[in-house]
Symmetry: C2
């Protein structure tokens, strides 16, 4: 008789409190969990568990802690940076069964929900109160609020309404040792350290999110969308700065370049001008009076910046149509390229033109076309590198080029991620973003929550050893963090 395999031993322990249907053992059952939205990385987890209450999560984690088995938590698996990529020797902890909306408080404008609830389902559930949940990642139909918190997700409207961290007030957490507690609060400012913000965007490395209290906003009285076409991307970039500089805060301010326009148009038939070098979509929301004034101001600014055409949606249908193209941009790439790789960097708005031309140069050097779709208002770029994974070496070239784009973002004072997180994808670029002292401090924070390093190991924050191997030269805003230090 042979000793039980690690997998069998684990499954045995879990059966004490989980039904067989909540423990996935066979390869067929585990296969769907081998990757998240970043499908270039795939790993089959040792075991998948689907607990349905906090107590079960605590027991799963205590057992894994006891046996030193790493754990990767997973929401809907729509993440684009590989944050939910499993480990072959680890447990994949799915929060899919945490799908209940527990409480809606219209007076305080909050909703208490389980982490597996879909982003859009929250807005649907509170619509009757004239409220909604603002952050809207493109995946909002499918992505879960727990995953949104783990990656501090953004979306088209985060320019005006902020990222996930600005739209949640409280989290229920279970730590790797099975301890559960609450961070944040429904008051104005929770005393003590801001563990709510620390947990948000920590990519599953500090604890497992088991409950989320989100902020709700009143649905704006009205909204209007302008579509502006440009014969050159540079004036389009300038227009973005001019609109923000005028003190207008659009609900959304999106930019697409010609390859993105053509792909989206062919796919969604939104009526985009296919010969334009770039289009801007500017959404304004608020009270009728406010929106009317701002629409006129934005139209004027766009004309001043040399827009060859400015359209104002005639009605709700046309507004929806203007957005349909933008929202279809990612899937539309499938029509013009077998594969695409979506980057996610941020830059100071006024560096947009030079970064665009930098990307163009890289595109030529690597012989890989790029379609640019981005949240221009907050300088969050989503260059889509088009490639064919079947051509030998092309994936590697794509990843290398992607890395170069992110380093370009850091060099102009931006960052390597806007809203998709670091995950597996950008872990090397973290070495260019942060100094050894900064990374060391992050590891100390990690150890304060998960000393054994069992939660989502190898993601988000690189070891100094890894950075040394990667050989990154740390730059910060293109300069030393504290110029005056040079004086000593």
């Amino acid at each position: 008789m042979t000793a039980a395999s690690p997998q069998a031993a684990l499954a045995q322990r879990f059966r004490a409190f989980l039904p067989d249907s909540s423990i996935l053992v066979t390869e067929t059952e585990r296969r769907p969990y081998e990757c998240d939205g970043l499908s270039v990385y795939r790993r089959l987890p040792l075991l998948v568990v689907l607990p349905e209450d906090i107590n079960q999560v605590q027991r799963v984690l205590r057992i894994c802690a006891e046996l030193a088995v790493p754990v990767v938590a997973r929401g809907a698996g729509t993440g684009l940076s590989g944050g939910a990529l499993p480990l072959t020797d680890g447990v994949l902890l799915s929060l899919a069964k945490f799908n209940r909306i527990l409480d809606i408080d219209p007076l305080n404008r909050t909703a208490r929900v389980q982490p597996g609830v879909r982003n859009l389902a929250i807005s649907e559930a509170v619509a009757e109160h004239g409220l909604y949940y603002a952050p809207d990642p493109s995946s909002q139909i499918a992505c879960s609020i727990g995953g949104n918190v783990a990656e501090n997700a953004g979306g088209v409207h985060c320019l005006k309404y902020g990222l996930t961290v600005h739209n949640i007030v409280q989290l229920g957490i279970v730590t790797m040792d099975g301890e559960q507690f609450t961070v944040g609060g429904t008051g104005l400012d929770a005393p003590g350290y801001d563990l709510l913000a620390l947990m948000t965007g920590s990519e599953g490395l500090l604890g497992v999110i088991v409950e989320v209290v989100v902020k709700l906003l009143p649905v704006p009285d009205t909204a209007q969308v302008l579509l502006a076409a440009f014969d050159d991307v540079v004036p389009a970039g300038d227009a973005v700065g001019r609109i923000i500089g005028a003190g207008i805060i659009p609900a959304g301010l999106e930019m697409m370049d010609n390859p993105a326009i053509r792909a989206a148009e062919a796919f969604a038939h939104a009526g985009y001008p296919e010969d334009a070098a770039a289009i801007l979509l500017c959404e304004l929301d608020g009270s009728r009076a406010e929106v009317e004034t701002d629409v006129m101001r934005v139209r004027k600014l766009l004309a001043q910046c040399g827009a060859r055409e400015v359209r104002i949606a005639r009605d709700a249908d046309e507004r929806a149509l203007f957005w349909k193209g933008r929202k279809a941009a990612f899937p539309a790439m499938g029509r013009i390229s077998p594969d695409y790789y979506c980057m996610d960097g941020t830059i100071p708005r006024h560096r947009l033109p030079e970064v665009l031309s930098g990307i163009e140069t890289l595109s030529r050097d690597y012989g890989l076309p790029v379609a640019n779709v981005f949240h221009a208002g907050d300088g969050n770029l989503h260059p889509l590198i088009l490639f064919d994974a079947n051509r030998p070496g092309e994936l590697q070239r794509t990843e290398e080029m992607g890395g170069k784009i992110l380093e370009l973002c850091v060099a102009v004072g931006g960052s390597i991620t806007g809203e998709h997180g670091v995950g597996m994808e950008k872990i090397n670029q973290m070495c260019s973003q942060f100094s050894a002292a900064e990374l060391t401090q992050m590891h100390a924070v990690k150890a304060a929550f998960d000393p054994a390093g069992l939660l989502n190991p190898g993601k988000a924050v690189p070891t100094l050893h890894r950075c040394a191997e990667f050989g990154a030269m740390h730059v910060h805003d293109g300069q030393l963090p504290f110029p005056e230090l040079e004086r000593f």
Copy 2:
């Protein structure tokens, strides 16, 4: 020959890189640093140092770490929770000489400043660009931005524009071991853990802030103020909920009860109705069109809630006059009472009426009058307990009653501090706010930055031992953090 005193030994080490004028040794020199704005607590620091560059701060901290001497950092010393209260055996590190505005970037709407710069000085410096720094604590003429960050300061306008944490993008930090690094970034979302938010409001326990990059906002086109008088505080409280509930976000929404009204009027002659049970001040800002619409909507709501009188400021002078009374409320207390104790709790807005009557009951029980001044819009209460420190036992009774008020805030689902921090003042109430697991996690985070516990010890986060002595029963939003746990 006797060994040098600890004070002399320290001063000796500091003289290696600091001029004598930056090392305060005599009692007369140290006396001004014995307390901050919470003057009921006083301690003479062992030594006061006034470094003027980051390198000097690093060297001071390295020496203190080496000699295990505790350090308390101090900005302008206007804090109201004793966060800058020195230790008799510790070094008081004043950032007063870090008073330069290093860089103003109108395009990205940011300013890089040293921590000793006064809050209002930032807005003054950027006014020429039509920009300002939004958070406005009542002490904004005097308080420093470094202190604002340490306490996550708010102010009259944080209802619309957020607390300090929402208005800064980057911090320069020096840790207790003299390591310096940057947290946050000028991009949309800095990758890695959100150490910017973690540092903000950490009350000097995690590191010393040596540089701050603040967000700047465009000065609104216009602003208008309404003053509403009520014969009862309950409808005034309801009106607050109705205004917010209508989706209007005032720039400021302040409430004063009768004792506060009378004191303020006698002091500032703002033309407040002295016989009113409560007044509401509602400021609306934005574009002309937006403000005009909202003024009408608010006036209607106030009337519906039974305001006996609603005034709309006729011009800028009257707007200033309306605010003059509110801003004078704290100093005005000096006219009706020898001493006053300013509390700072938050509650869910809709619990306002019951909390007000709860405070009234406590006031009767303790025989101590209370004047209520608060940021009603975000439920941030500032009850001012009036007392006479010369009457034996009255200070103790005042502090006890203050504690009861904060516990009342926690019981209704609020928190023990809105914007003043915990400091020394509310450390016992932290035991009612947080569970042992939550406090333990906070201590682990502290240890990740300052393992020896030398930075501002004894403040903000109580030891479990202290909580046991205090004998607090942990409540959370009036219930267990995770009700469903009771099922197991």
